[in-house]
């Protein structure tokens, strides 16, 4: 090992370790092993040269283009920004910290709940039942704590697709390689024919969570749902937040503890409670991720109220594009649960013709329904009222 004969207290080693610490704080997975590799790489280079130190760290500690942006910032923080590797001005957005609302402990289980409409006779179970139907926007802090616990238990079973790979089976097509191998094992004696069938793989789920101001009552709960889906789900799940910027938060949500994960998301998302540019961000999502594979054959779930500040025509165009890439598009709009809801928000009305299933997603029960729809176990096809919205899509097209 090269590192053994390196002076561990030497300046370059300490520098690399310092960069590693800044990187970890910035959310890059600069593990111990990677730091050791960085030191080893630096040993093969000229540690007195700034660019060599830069590249030794970057080649070993980064694993993703978004890491590079963070690495540049961390490097500049340790070394002071001066060279061309320093980040541009737009790389340091003003961040708003997401504060988790601490729940006051006074409203334990009994007396404190008289004001939230639960009769004193209600048992714990029925209380849970009621909570399951409660709209997230109408929760008291004490209820929120309980709802958070219920949210953490949600599961997203997901859908399956047929894989190109095969597995041995009693039925299906004849597996030639397997049959010949069995034949050879018997020294060329005619043997049984062996069959193989296409394997089934889980279908990817992509959650696009709206964190704009108009969704503020719901976004925290929806992100908790996303966390449960990504952590406990049986399918590969990708999570993005949309607002004024598109942020991939899958990594942040991979933290085990929901509170820590949400705090990490709050750090990573710069546009908390801002405006909405659905069309532009959908386009960015499709360009940067979707078209490359993330959306292909996936079930896309958009959790948004469809409030669009930007160009509605662009939103329609991008929804059509997404429809061609994805297997299914599910739209969850918390406002749908309100009595007499009509999809009148211009963005929602434009997007709806391209949506396969339209659900509410404003309470625990609604999210459970959403999970069933995503898994294909039940459907909530978009119904067309034939009103002035003027969508005409054939029924059964979904």
């Amino acid at each position: 090992m090269t590192t053994d004969r390196m002076d561990l207290a030497s300046a370059p080693v300490r520098t690399v370790v310092a960069i590693g610490r800044v990187l970890r704080a910035a959310g890059v997975a600069a593990t111990e092993g990677r730091i050791v590799e960085a030191v080893r790489a630096l040993d093969g280079l000229d540690a007195s040269r700034r660019d060599h130190v830069y590249w030794a760290g970057r080649l070993t500690c980064c694993g993703d283009p978004s890491d590079i942006e963070r690495y540049d910032r961390a490097f500049a923080a340790v070394f002071g920004a001066e060279d061309q590797a320093a980040p541009g001005p737009e790389l340091t957005p003003v961040r708003e910290q997401l504060h988790l609302v601490p729940v006051s402990g006074d409203a334990g289980d009994g007396a404190g709940n008289a004001d939230d409409g639960v009769t004193p006779l209600a048992t714990a179970a029925s209380r849970g039942e009621l909570l399951r139907e409660r709209d997230f926007a109408e929760l008291t802090p004490a209820e929120r704590q309980e709802v958070d616990r219920l949210l953490a238990q949600l599961r997203l079973p997901g859908d399956v697709r047929r894989s190109r790979r095969r597995r041995p089976s009693r039925t299906g097509r004849i597996d030639r390689a397997l049959t010949v191998r069995a034949l050879l094992r018997r020294g060329g004696e005619p043997a049984r024919l062996l069959y193989a069938r296409r394997r089934e793989r889980p279908r990817r789920v992509v959650l696009l969570v709206d964190v704009s101001g108009s969704m503020s009552a719901y976004s925290t709960a929806l992100l908790r749902f996303a966390h449960a889906a990504a952590r406990r789900g049986a399918v590969p799940t990708e999570v993005f937040t949309i607002g004024t910027r598109l942020t991939r938060v899958t990594r942040e949500l991979s933290l085990h503890d929901p509170d820590l994960a949400l705090a990490a998301v709050g750090d990573a998302v710069p546009d908390w409670a801002g405006g909405t540019r659905l069309g532009t961000l959908l386009k960015e999502f499709i360009d940067r991720w979707g078209q490359r594979g993330t959306a292909r054959g996936a079930v896309i779930v958009i959790l948004s109220d469809g409030w669009e500040r930007g160009d509605v025509a662009l939103l329609g165009e991008q929804m059509a594009r997404l429809r061609r890439l994805a297997h299914r598009i599910v739209w969850a709009n918390p406002r749908k649960a309100r009595p007499g809801y009509q999809p009148l928000a211009r963005g929602m009305a434009t997007a709806l013709p391209h949506v396969d299933d339209f659900v509410a997603g404003n309470s625990i029960a609604a999210l459970e329904r959403l999970a069933r729809v995503v898994s294909g176990a039940s459907r909530a096809p978009v119904r067309h009222s034939g009103s002035s919205d003027g969508f005409d899509r054939e029924p059964g097209n979904a």
């Binding site: 990677r34 093969g44 000229d46 060599h52 590249w55 080649l59 894989s163 790979r165 050879l184 020294g187």
Partner: protein, 306 residues
């Protein structure tokens, strides 16, 4: 640091990344500092190089050039969905094994069954697929192209091969690389490759080149071109990259375009010629249609006029 045992596979006379970059340039590949350093470290410390970037920025070409620089055979493994060990590592040659059995039968030589069995699992009946071939060839450059197309089981399997540089064939035993092959893994990022694999490699993100570098690359790759045309092509491609396109053109496209223009005998790019040859640069109908709307002529005229 100049201890010969410590040099890995570095060619003679290469002592730092800049030497390596000039050596790559001699083989018509212009690498920037980052890529030069990455390749230098990969050669010196014998770790795989993981290259990610937009299509057409020259990822695969790195492998080809390295093979030329090291004067080693290039062994290429093109990944695709459903690729598995028998296509990537090794496979037994069933027809030949069967023929061998039949031949033994015909010659009535099958007296000793165990001996016949042993003959069946001889090295000569083993077909070496790219990974095994690379382990058995010293030196060699192993190019694992578009790893993102393979599925994740294959990635896990690759991880195993790339960490030990050894392969175990149950019937034959373990085959180990004498010296590690130079490994270049490329990805177009159609999906995220698992972190464990990246951790074993030097990760480098290849960007589109700057204008000056692109002119140099075009001149080096298409020697017949005059410098003015190269500059015009680079300007136009850079402008197209800024335009809102489905698939922005890479360096590969600007080289293609230049070749097309040279073949047509053009030595001065005007918007009209540019439009006629746009098929070399924009390869999506949507993009060509969009160009109709955005007016490619104007973009190119503006970039040429600038």
């Amino acid at each position: 640091m100049t201890d010969p045992a410590d040099r890995g596979l570095l060619p003679n006379g290469v002592d730092d990344p800049d030497d390596l970059r000039s050596l790559l340039a001699e083989h018509a590949y212009l690498a920037d500092t980052g890529l030069g350093t990455a390749v230098f470290l990969a050669l010196k410390l014998g770790r795989p190089l993981f290259l990610e970037g937009e299509p057409g920025v020259g990822k695969t070409e790195v492998g080809r050039t390295l093979a030329a620089v090291l004067d080693a055979p290039l062994i290429r493994l093109q990944c695709y969905e459903g690729i598995d060990a028998t296509q990537a590592l090794y496979d037994w040659d069933f027809p030949r094994q069967l023929l061998h059995l039949r031949a033994a039968e015909a010659a009535h030589a099958a007296s000793d069954v165990t001996a016949l069995e042993d003959q069946l699992y001889d090295r000569r009946f083993l077909i070496a697929r790219p990974l095994l071939a690379a382990l058995e060839t010293t030196p060699s450059v192993l190019l694992i192209d578009e790893i993102d197309r393979a599925d994740d089981e294959f990635e896990a399997f690759l991880l195993e091969v790339l960490s030990d540089f050894a392969v175990t064939v149950p019937e034959l035993g373990t085959i180990r690389a004498e010296t590690r092959p130079v490994v270049v893994v490329t990805s177009n990022r159609t999906r995220e490759v698992h972190d464990a694999l990246k951790r074993r490699c030097y990760y480098h993100w290849l960007d589109h080149p700057t204008y000056e570098r692109e002119v140099e690359i075009v001149c080096v790759r298409v020697p017949e071109v005059n410098r003015r045309l190269a500059e015009q092509v680079a300007k136009a491609t850079q402008a197209l990259r800024q335009a809102d396109l489905f698939k922005p053109p890479g360096v590969a496209e600007s080289i293609d375009w230049t070749e097309a223009l040279v073949a047509l005998g053009v030595d001065d790019l005007d918007p009209d010629t540019a439009l006629r040859t746009i098929g070399a640069v924009l390869k999506y109908r949507e993009d060509q249609e969009r160009m109709g709307r955005l007016d490619v002529g104007e973009i190119i005229a503006a970039s040429l006029g600038a």
